[in-house]
């Protein structure tokens, strides 16, 4: 397990979601294992020993958005409700503890909260997330909360502005220091048609890694496929985009084999896109500013409340269409294919971006363009107040 702890501690540092020196893991084999920042590791071990699960991560997020959301919340509230569909589907809500609520038995209190949810926020300390069966699962839950609070906070700032005196400075530092330019420059793609399975697996694996390395998506958020003849080669469910070797399923277009039961939950959307267009590849991720901007709607007097699944309209962010629809067997597999063909890109409300192309270079550049447009638009609107 120590190798797993080392791997996911390194991932937290590499994706810049946690402060390097303030990460700790605990794991229960037949004995308790802790690793990382001394005080946090002791704390993680104490909490985990009270839970019936395998792993736990405690880390201070590299951005203070979770804490700011807690401080911006009314005193009566005790949990954050994510707005993006991915984390809302899997996390439902994120309980938090304010600094002054830790009480005399903080470990017991935190363990009880984690007995109910996959992760929580503790003001001043950070995000605590558990993994029922693996260390990786604890990392995924941490990463989901980081993603969710990122989206929620920036959305909240756009809606309500800064409410706390230090927020403007934090926000400016985030924009200046944490955000990095998104670009496909320097990456190499196979521009000719992919033919052999070896070529296909290699290209999918490489491009998946690019999406994470360039900060376009977090490692567990997204899926990727290529169609060659009558076979869709698609990343597996719960696969990390930056670790796709051995995690790509060949799926016949005619469903003559069910080996692809382990394929991404978005297989049905990929298949419908291939049926509706002549694209050779599909890239899907959850770039954060695209998710945030997709949820901004200027419609007046609309009666729809569950916009993320019920909105029938096609809106536009720049020249990119935005549609609603649930993930998996929900509605996005019906609503994306009709709109993605001509522009080669589409955004799903509160969820993420699909791009297509004759090769992954086209799809990757399209996703970068969408996210950069949404990022620019976000800051333009934020500056306007």
């Amino acid at each position: 397990m120590r190798d797993q702890i080392a791997k996911y501690a390194a991932k937290l540092r590499a994706d810049r979601s946690a402060v390097a020196g303030e990460i700790a893991f605990a794991a229960q084999d037949d004995v308790l294992i802790t690793d990382g920042n001394g005080a946090l590791a002791t704390f993680a071990g104490d909490v985990l020993s009270r839970l019936n699960c395998l792993g736990l991560v405690v880390a201070r997020p590299a951005l203070p958005f979770a804490d700011l959301l807690v401080r911006r919340a009314p005193a009566s509230e005790e949990r954050i409700f994510p707005n993006d569909t991915e984390t809302r589907t899997f996390l439902h809500d994120i309980p938090f503890l304010r600094r002054n609520e830790l009480g005399g038995d903080p470990v017991g209190r935190i363990a009880r909260m984690l007995g109910n949810r996959k992760g929580i926020i503790i003001e001043g300390l950070g995000i605590v997330a558990s993994g029922a069966v693996t260390i990786e699962q604890a990392y995924i839950n941490y990463s989901s909360i980081f993603h969710s609070t990122f989206v929620k906070y920036l959305q909240d700032v756009l809606d309500r502005g800064f409410l706390l005196p230090e927020e403007a400075g934090i926000f400016e530092a985030f924009r200046r220091d944490w955000l990095q330019p998104l670009t496909p420059d320097g990456l190499s793609f196979t521009e000719t048609p992919l033919t052999s399975p070896g070529e296909i697996f290699g290209e999918i694996t490489r491009v998946g890694r690019y999406t994470v390395e360039r900060g376009l998506v977090d490692s567990f958020f997204g899926n990727i496929s290529a169609r060659v003849g009558d076979i869709i080669y698609i990343s597996q469910t719960a696969a990390s985009l930056d670790e796709l070797a051995g995690c790509i399923d060949p799926v016949p277009m005619d469903n003559s084999s069910t080996t692809g039961i382990t394929a991404s939950s978005e297989l049905i959307a990929h298949r419908r896109i291939y049926e509706a267009t002549d694209t050779a590849v599909i890239l899907h991720g959850h770039p954060k500013f695209s998710v945030i901007m997709s949820m901004r709607c200027q419609e007046q007097g609309c009666q729809i409340t569950d916009c993320w699944k019920d909105c029938p309209r096609v809106r536009f962010l720049g020249d990119t269409p935005v549609v609603a629809g649930e993930i998996g067997a929900g509605g996005l597999a019906k609503r994306v294919p009709p709109v993605i063909g001509a522009p080669g890109k589409a955004i799903v409300y509160g969820h993420g971006v699909f791009t297509i192309g004759r090769n992954f270079g086209e799809a990757f550049r399209a996703m970068v363009q969408v996210e950069n447009w949404c990022r620019d638009e976000y800051f333009r609107l934020q500056a306007e107040g």
Binding site: G115, T134, S257, T262
Partner: protein, 579 residues
């Protein structure tokens, strides 16, 4: 009271008496229902021989039964298995469970032995024992049809009447209370069937909270490729796993002598759909509908059945496999144990049964005739009688299902730690080792698997006590089901408190087994898996299981469970500390 009725019907077949008793609410809160309640009710009886007339046969529903909670129209049947000698429970779906709850009952507790064949009839508050001489010897289908006007049925076929050690109890719609031979326990009591009709409605404590949690569950179902994916079990049923097990080279073939069957494509999910016109079918009230049937209503076989009547016996004829499945359902035979017993017998005698021999062999088993008299005892007793005990592919006498343990090391451990013998469903590591849910694990590594198995066993013990279908958890988690339970009952539950209940239930079962002589020597796979490789190929090596690593991980498991090195309890007062 919300969630539970607080009532149990006790039936003494010897005396011909039926009466209702209260179940203390605290008792229900701690053991939930289903498997947990049944296991707790066995506390005074677990040492009895399975065929002792006083051995109880318990049918228990859960607090979510009767509500709109997805996959919760289920019950558990609990007793001691005549096949394995262990405590035994089996979860089954169908309208019977829903009707039992609607008749105002959380459980049936049946003991004694009728002097003549009987049917237990329940209609609301009314309970009576009726003569069933005219039904004795009848098939499951005919029995269920004859009793249809009285409500939903649970009955046995000839296999249960004749004491086949892997006889099922069959629900009227075709669901099985399978594996451990509880049909033989029912037959020994000369109880042919139970028929129940009720019109009560389950009240929910907090309707808005319940509906919200239900929507969360359904959203997760839709996000799960295994459940509602276009290649998932909702579309193709569990035979969707045939192609996957073939690709992973862990499809048991010729009595686990090999792990790859070249003709398995004959009975894959798509092949069954094409050949049989498979349509969606399933348990009452279940949104997944993973069972499949022909347009004429004939139930089609599940993954374990096609694989075991297929590759395990070297048979590639889909129609023979479908026919064998139908016959098992009519006779009340467990398909996994029947097929695995035939495979062990086939290997020992040097010839696996041919496709056209399956039906006559199954008939002979159910009626105890000819070779069937021996085969009715299950593979362990067959192999011992033929002088080749090592060729029974079983753990604690329960035949292994269709996942070769050399292809999934968590599965190897879980077969052995299961309290009911070689079963895949207690910890269900296939979920993460193969299907990548909730997250993938390395199937060829033992690292961390003891802990994962322990957590999963506790979780599944709780699920079996709610009672919900394990397939729900390819999408949902205990978070959503704890919310459903809290909303339904008005009592607060969390995933952690449910796992604590599951641990209590699991350890109680283990204690019963240890008291009956089970220990570490029984927590082992057949020697073949430690000595012989499987069918490597396509870049996948299927090596023999490293016995030393297996033993190390098993010792870790015992330590996590608070057991001795021999897998037993340090003191004899374990039950005294439990409610």
């Amino acid at each position: 009271m919300f969630g539970w009725t607080g009532k149990i019907l006790k039936v003494d077949l010897t005396k011909g008496r039926c009466w209702r008793e209260d179940i203390p609410p605290d008792f229900l809160h701690v053991y939930l229902g289903g498997r947990g309640l049944g296991v707790r009710l066995m506390r005074d009886y677990y040492r009895l021989d399975p065929f002792d007339p006083q051995m109880p046969l318990i049918f228990a529903v859960g607090p979510l039964c009767g509500t709109a909670a997805p996959t919760a129209a289920r019950l558990a049947v609990v007793s001691r298995s005549p096949l394995t000698g262990t405590i035994y429970d089996c979860s089954a779906g169908g309208r019977f469970a829903w009707q039992l709850k609607a008749a105002g009952l959380d459980a049936l507790f049946i003991s004694g032995q009728s002097s003549r064949p009987a049917v237990l009839s329940l209609e609301g508050e009314k309970a009576e024992l009726l003569p069933a001489d005219h039904l004795w010897g009848q098939s499951v289908h005919k029995t269920a049809a004859a009793l249809k006007t009285g409500g939903s049925t649970a009955c046995i076929g000839p296999a249960g009447e004749n004491g086949v050690l892997y006889a099922n109890i069959m629900m009227g719609e075709g669901n099985s209370v399978g594996r451990g031979g509880l049909g033989a326990v029912m037959g020994n009591k000369r109880l042919k069937a139970i028929v129940v009709a009720g019109d009560g409605q389950a009240a929910v404590a907090d309707r808005a909270r319940f509906d919200h949690a239900r929507q969360d569950v359904m959203r997760l179902f839709r996000a799960s490729p295994v459940i509602f994916g276009e290649l998932g079990i909702g579309e193709y049923g569990t035979p969707a796993l045939v192609d996957l097990m073939r690709q992973r080279r862990m499809a048991p073939t010729e009595n686990f002598g090999r792990t790859f069957f070249a003709q398995s494509g004959n009975y894959s999910g798509p092949a069954i759909r094409k050949a049989c016109g498979a349509k969606k079918d399933g348990c009452y009230g279940c949104p997944i509908q993973c069972k499949k049937s022909t347009p004429e209503g004939e139930h089609l076989p599940e993954y374990e059945t096609v694989s075991h009547f297929g590759g395990l016996n070297g048979i590639a004829d889909l129609h023979a496999i479908v026919k064998a499945n139908t016959l098992c359902n009519e006779l009340g035979l467990d398909t996994i144990s029947a097929a695995a017993t035939l495979a062990a017998w086939g290997e020992i005698r040097g010839r696996f049964p041919a496709a056209d021999e399956l039906s006559p062999l199954l008939e002979s088993i159910a009626f105890g005739k000819g070779e069937g008299a021996l085969l009715a005892l299950g593979s362990r007793r067959v192999a011992e009688a033929m002088g080749r005990p090592e060729l029974s592919m079983s753990v604690k006498s329960l035949e292994l299902p269709a996942y070769d343990p050399r292809g999934a090391y968590g599965m190897a451990l879980a077969y052995c730690t299961s309290n009911r013998g070689g079963c895949h469903l207690r910890a269900y590591p296939i979920s993460h080792e193969i299907l990548r849910k909730p997250v993938p694990t390395d199937r060829f590594s033992f690292s961390g698997k003891a802990r994962i198995i322990k957590v999963a066993e506790d979780t599944n013990a709780a699920i079996d006590s709610l009672v919900a279908c394990k397939f729900s958890f390819f999408g949902a988690t205990l978070e959503e089901y704890a919310e459903l339970l809290s909303a339904a009952t008005g009592a607060e539950y969390s995933p952690q408190s449910l796992k604590e209940a599951g641990e209590r239930i699991y350890l109680t079962e283990r204690f019963y087994n240890c008291a009956n002589g089970f220990d570490a020597k029984d927590d082992l796979l057949p020697p073949r898996f430690y000595r012989e490789p499987g069918s490597s190929g396509e870049g996948i090596e299927i090596a023999p299981i490293d016995r030393q690593r297996f033993d190390e991980e098993m010792q870790k498991y015992y330590r996590m469970r608070g057991l001795t090195e021999k897998g037993t309890f340090a003191g004899g007062d374990f039950l005294g500390h439990l409610p």
